[in-house]
Amino acid sequence: MSQTNQLMKSSPHVHDGDSVTNVMEAVIWALMPATAMAVMIFGWTALLVIVITTLSCLVTEHLFLKLRQRPSAIADRSAALTGILLALTLPPHAPWWMCVAGGVFAILVGKQVYGGLGYNMFNPALIARVFLLISFPAQMTAWPPVTPLFSEQSYSLGDSIAIVMTGKVGAPELADAVSSATPLGQYRTETGLGKTVQEALGGGYGGYDEVRAAGGLIGGSLGETVRCWGRWGGGYLLRKKVITWHIPVSMLAGCLVPATIFWTYDPAHFPDPTFHLLTGGLIIGAFFMATDMVTSPITSKGQIIFGLGCGLLTYLIRTWSGYPEGVSFAVVIMNAVVPLIDQYTRPRVYGHMA
């Protein structure tokens, strides 16, 4: 009886060849156009913010797994992805210590204390953003005007390093750099003072220009600004079947449908749906934040409910809460109800009654 050296393993004997690393890499690639665009629009500071945040995520992941005596998992790219996502939620002139604090918090509290990849309840990048927003509201809402790379307004590399490293703008001529407000913020503050939407944003939304908004030439966090490019990346993920349409579509619908209803009802107090679509982080949130697999429902039915919830909460927060922007809060709140959604949206087992 000759034994050959065949491997013994049990079925299935074939695999479609995908891996977690591939999935994470695909998402990172999908984020690349948006990331590159963010750097183009805000200059070297944006690059510094992205690099510092991502590095601190990677280092934290590595050290923590060392401490837990686990093999380092930075090769699975999930920490790098968290870092890039977090960076995209930060303001373009975020000081270095905020980037580091966010990165460490995202990995440590957002992920590893739960047991690492796959066990965390909240999207690590968003939970870190929420942490920063609550802890450092001033720095987190300092929106500099756009300063496209290689344009006249752009900062030199040296100035950029000074901005990110010292936390304040070094050169005197840059002093007014922290003065502009995002359209969402402007809308919230001014309508809060009793003005109509038109007055708040300028007649016919004069100060706010949809074309500029779509192209990303409006102040905001890195990711908010590059929404249009984010949508390209989202399309790539859909085509590659890394994500399905359920969450992005339902999240956009969850926000835009009520926006349309209220705007039709009273255009003086509620801005139109394109305003909601094109400002803030709705698009990047719908395609990249809410679709995080670990923290979203596992069935497609559940994903639709989840997406609708995220969208609706975003609209509610934007319109009636104390914060101008609600995507991160909305997604984090919905993360918390995922186990519940999962429990009630199990598919019907074949041949069984509901």
């Binding site: 065949q6 074949y350 041949g351």
Partner: protein
């Protein structure tokens, strides 16, 4: 409410399918190894002695109980041994087999006789003829056909469904049979309809297999009550639930008894062998297998004698490519890995596959990222990720609530899992443990298989270990309420309990190793 479709991976799982090659007759090998257990139920009992000359089709293994079927000599020759031989079970365990050295004369035994006017014969005679020919379901189930053709008292069959889909992706056995032997299949169908007095028959063939559809439609022309119907190419139709749904629109759970809905499912290859058995008196002596995969030089569909060692098939197909380290008996999703080419072809074997290492199947396991692909892939509408999580936590009762028992072990979930989690193994393990508990055994981590069978007084039995497919078929048999003396017997129970114990041990060993 949203009408989400769940269902397998269409052709995504094709393990390199052979280019529809016509069925070739494989030359007779030098030796045939015929294990006595080739079907669900009791093994047959050897009734030949070493040195005895046997004719083609002569009985070499007797079936003493109604639930068993006899085993025949696939060709004429001399019995050279009755001994233990490898069977392709992952444990590497052997079982009792009759070894025949063919004389090449192909001399038929006189006992082989066809029936004269089968379409007017009594059903009981037809059933006896089928049983005597050793016919078993030729999918993976290998359940004795005469039992399936015996509806219990008070049940009847209105609609016969004939499965023309392959058992697994990458195979083309059924398709070739339908193209080449459509008339025989139709004749077999008529005999089945006669036995169970079914008025109607639907033949389900995957859309896109136009040659097969054409051949079968032509053959079915003018045959009363028989209709050929295309079904969506959604796998696995080997799972009869999906076929039933596609053909009749009825949604059945795995546990549901088809007979309660007056349905009966057989597949085309079984129908073909029933024709041979009844009209020509030919016992089941050979079967068609797909030999394929990147490790095989020249993929082919071969008709091989039962008992032919895999080596002979592989050599006929140009041998294994160098560097190949995986060999499987069965399809890509359900097959058994085998570690020697001496394993013989059984009645239940559907394919021989071999993959190049580059197929990259084995990758280290990563944590579940809840991507939901397994949920999407599961044809039974289960949530594999959740079930696996519960098993890992040891919450087996919760797993049962998640309808673990509806898992058909199709393997699609593991096929798509980007984290390379051995989902199917996890479910098999959980099923075994739950089953052992149901039979009132001790928790399987205590004591080994041996102790259990000794307590039952069956330690003297040859070490017969049924492959999971057989265990599954037995479970199905019990569910279908077909009275199989052996399936509920003490011996079978001990075998299954031993199974559970062994599985638990293996799991524990791997846990220990992981520490």
């Amino acid at each position: 409410m949203f009408g989400f479709m769940h269902g397998g991976g269409e052709s995504a799982a094709d393990g390199g399918s052979p280019a529809l090659s016509a069925i070739e007759m494989l030359p007779i090998p030098q030796r045939l190894y015929l294990p006595l257990r080739q079907h669900a139920g009791y093994p047959s009992v050897p009734c030949v002695t070493v040195g005895q000359k046997v004719g083609k089709g002569e009985v070499i293994g007797r079936a003493d109980v109604w639930g068993s079927v006899p085993l025949h000599a696939p060709t004429s020759g001399t019995v050279v041994a009755v001994t233990a031989c490898p069977t392709g079970h992952p444990t590497g365990l052997t079982q009792l087999a009759v070894v025949i050295e063919p004389d090449g004369a192909e001399r038929w035994s006189e006992a082989v006789q066809g029936m004269v006017d089968p379409l007017n014969a009594a059903p009981s005679l037809l059933r006896e003829q089928i049983r005597a020919a050793g016919i078993v379901g030729l999918g993976d189930e290998c359940f004795p056909s005469h039992l399936k053709l015996t509806p219990p008292r008070g049940k009847r069959v209105d609609l016969l469904l004939i499965n023309g889909a392959e058992c697994e992706p990458g195979l083309s056995v059924h398709e070739r049979l339908m193209v080449e032997r459509a008339n025989e299949i139709l004749s077999g169908i008529q005999i089945i309809m006669r036995i169970v007095s079914a008025k109607q028959c639907f033949i389900g063939i995957e859309q896109g297999k136009s040659a097969a559809i054409q051949a079968m439609t032509q053959a079915a022309w003018g045959v009363a009550g028989v209709r050929v119907q295309g079904v969506p190419a959604m796998r696995p139709h080997g799972v009869r639930q999906q076929l039933v749904a596609a053909l009749t629109g009825k949604n059945l759970s795995l546990g549901a008894r088809l007979l309660d809905r007056r349905l009966l499912v057989h597949n085309v290859s079984t129908a073909c062998s029933i024709h041979d058995a009844v009209w020509r008196g030919r016992p089941l002596l050979s079967r068609v297998l797909t030999v394929a995969g990147g490790g095989i030089a020249r993929p082919a569909n071969l008709e091989a004698l039962i008992g032919t060692p895999l080596r002979h098939l592989i050599d006929h197909c140009g041998g294994l490519q160098s560097g190949v380290d995986q060999l499987f008996l069965g399809g890509p999703l359900l097959g058994q890995a085998v570690n020697t080419q001496d394993v013989p072809v059984l009645k239940s074997s559907t394919a021989v596959l071999s993959f190049l290492p580059a197929a990259g199947v084995a990758k280290p396991q990563q944590p579940c990222i809840r991507c939901g692909r397994c949920v999407e892939a599961c044809p039974m509408g289960l949530v594999p990720a959740e079930m696996a999580r519960r098993v890992r936590k040891g919450q087996l009762m919760r797993v049962a609530e998640l309808q673990l028992h509806d898992c058909t072990e199709c393997g699609f979930c593991g096929f798509v899992c980007p984290s390379h989690i051995p989902l199917l193994d996890t479910f098999r393990y959980a099923k075994w443990v739950l089953q052992a508990e149901k039979w009132g055994r001790q928790p399987p981590s205590v004591g080994g298989g041996h102790a259990l069978s000794e307590r039952d007084g069956t330690a003297g039995e040859p070490a017969v270990v049924a492959p999971p497919a057989v265990v599954m078929a037995e479970a199905v048999a019990v569910r279908e309420e077909v009275t199989v003396g052996s399936a509920s017997g003490k011996g079978a129970r001990a075998v299954r309990a031993a199974h559970a114990a062994r599985a638990a041990k293996a799991a524990k060993a791997s846990r220990d190793q992981a520490k």
